[in-house]
Amino acid sequence: MFSSPIPRTIVLKLNSGHRFLEDVRARKALSLAINRKGIARGVLHIPGSETEQLLPASMSNWYLQNVTSETEVVAGTPKSLLTSLGWKKNSQGMLERDGELFELTLITYADRPELTTVATAIQAQWQAIGVTTKVEVTNSSAIPMGHQDGSLEVALIARNYGFIADPLGVMLSDFGSNGGGDWGAMNWNNKKLSADLMTLEETSDPVKYNKIAQRSAQILYDERPMIPVSAYVQQTSVNKRIKGFRFDPFERSFYLNEMEFVKP
């Protein structure tokens, strides 16, 4: 068995234009309510795969070294953040504001089987803070479609940031100037981030590039237009008769020319 971390992240795509999610405090409360360690250990069975950041540590330009699982706690607790937004628990223990329940529909797709179980774990964890979540398992195409027609509220997806070695292209399509992308932010715009991403397109100096990318990663972490849950680990089982296997995290090559059959 080979376990190889890959630049793909299980992440919640949020409709930041939704009346319950437009305030960053609500998005932070939902993020804080997720027990990432529990999901990594109990659902995915890959302890240590939990992450608070969109991009993996291997993409160091975009990874904030100073962020830990405790960093977000400074913002408050889910309860304090939601109370500050006017949400109160009703007699059934569910959050209510102006007679309206805090209800969200979370869509995901079964082509990646782990997404459905992670979605139900998140549903239970949000239930604990009083948020009612309806999980709908559908086709992956419902996510770009829901983004376009504005019907999407929350989606659990597995986003690949490593189509090419530099994730800038994906970052531009996900968080560029037009309020997000099909697989990125939704109804969320940050002028500073847009300008930074545009500047990066023309930046070749590695020191300057690192500085701007770090600033961008910090904005994404602070604003939570998407909530990361877990980093992907590719599990490959290799027959004993095969020698020379290695896995390309960017999934460009199988390195078949390096593999050979041997006697076990």
Partner: protein
């Protein structure tokens, strides 16, 4: 005979039109956008985006009205054209032909096995009576009560994972055929053994059967001369009816065992909204159903020529 063929030909035309139209209406009424679904199947689950969907929509002219699309399909069908797959772009005829071969192999193996199981067990039940009859009938009820995929999963657990006798799923050597064919055979035999048993019991108790014993024929001679044909008519007719559940079972079994047949293809085409393939596969299944029923009628006629007036 001529009238029967004419009737069947008319049925065939009605089935082709009915199945095609119904599939068309059902597929159009499914929720979700076809362009996105097809794009997801073409470019991969996480790679589909609105640009890809727009390209697919323009390429396949998905914006045309339902009536126009239906009219195109109908005129193509009259020219025996089934169109091309929306996902792979390959002609539907080739895809369906390829899948049909595998399905027929599985169906034939399943049917033969089910006859081999059901006929001896049914006859044994009728001949020996209780307590064996009750045990066998109880056992067949248990098997029938189980959905066919549960039976398949149990077989995989026992014969593939626990004992390692046969491969879990897939296609290749004859070993791959064993588990799906056995699953299909058992689910079919669980009902047909009951029909064999009832038919045999009725024949064994009939006056003409008793009389042949009285007039001095041995048990075997009586069975051969007066039993086989009389028992066979309802049994063969029932196998014909059972073809419906076989077509049903094949969709499940092929998906469970990754058998590259028409049921497996149909399930994938539905997920992908590949309407020409769905229509092609459903049409072939409908045609197959009429043809097999005609074949069963002919066999029944051969066994019992008295039935000609009824057909």
């Amino acid at each position: 005979m001529k009238a029967m063929f004419l009737k069947r030909a008319l049925q065939l035309i009605t089935v082709v039109w009915g199945v095609g139209t119904l599939t068309f209406i059902l597929m159009r009424s499914l929720p979700g956008d076809m362009a996105y679904r097809i794009a997801a199947s073409r470019y991969g689950q996480d790679n589909v985006d609105s640009n890809a969907a727009a390209l697919v929509r323009a390429e396949l002219n998905l914006d045309q009205g339902a009536l126009t699309a239906y009219w195109h399909w109908l005129t193509d069908l009259l020219q025996f054209k089934l169109g091309d797959s929306l996902v792979s772009g390959l002609p539907v005829m080739d895809t369906v032909q390829h899948m049909l071969g595998h399905s027929l192999l599985l169906a034939f193996a399943g049917l033969v096995l089910s006859v081999l199981i059901a006929v001896p067990l049914g006859l044994l039940s009728a001949w020996r009576g209780n307590p064996l009859d009750s045990v066998l009938m109880g056992f067949s009820s248990v098997i029938r009560a189980m959905p066919v995929f549960v039976l398949g999963v149990l077989f995989i657990l026992l014969f593939a994972l626990h004992w390692n006798w046969f491969p879990v799923a897939g296609f290749g050597s004859p070993a791959y055929l064993v588990l799906p064919a056995m699953t299909l055979a058992l689910s079919l035999a669980a009902v047909s053994n009951r029909v064999v048993r009832d038919s045999a019991k009725q024949t064994f108790q009939s006056a003409f059967y008793q009389f042949s014993r009285v007039k001095g024929l041995s048990a075997w001679q009586t069975f051969r001369q007066h039993g086989v044909r009389n028992i066979a008519v309802p049994v063969v007719a029932f196998f014909g009816i059972q073809l419906v559940s076989m077509i049903e079972g094949i969709v499940m079994i092929e998906s469970l065992f990754s058998w590259p047949g028409i049921g497996h293809g149909l399930a994938h085409a539905i997920f992908a909204r590949d309407i020409p393939v769905i229509q092609g596969a459903a049409l072939v299944m409908g045609i197959l159903f009429v043809l097999l029923n005609t074949l069963v009628d002919l066999i029944c006629l051969w066994i019992d020529p008295r039935g000609a007036k009824k057909l």
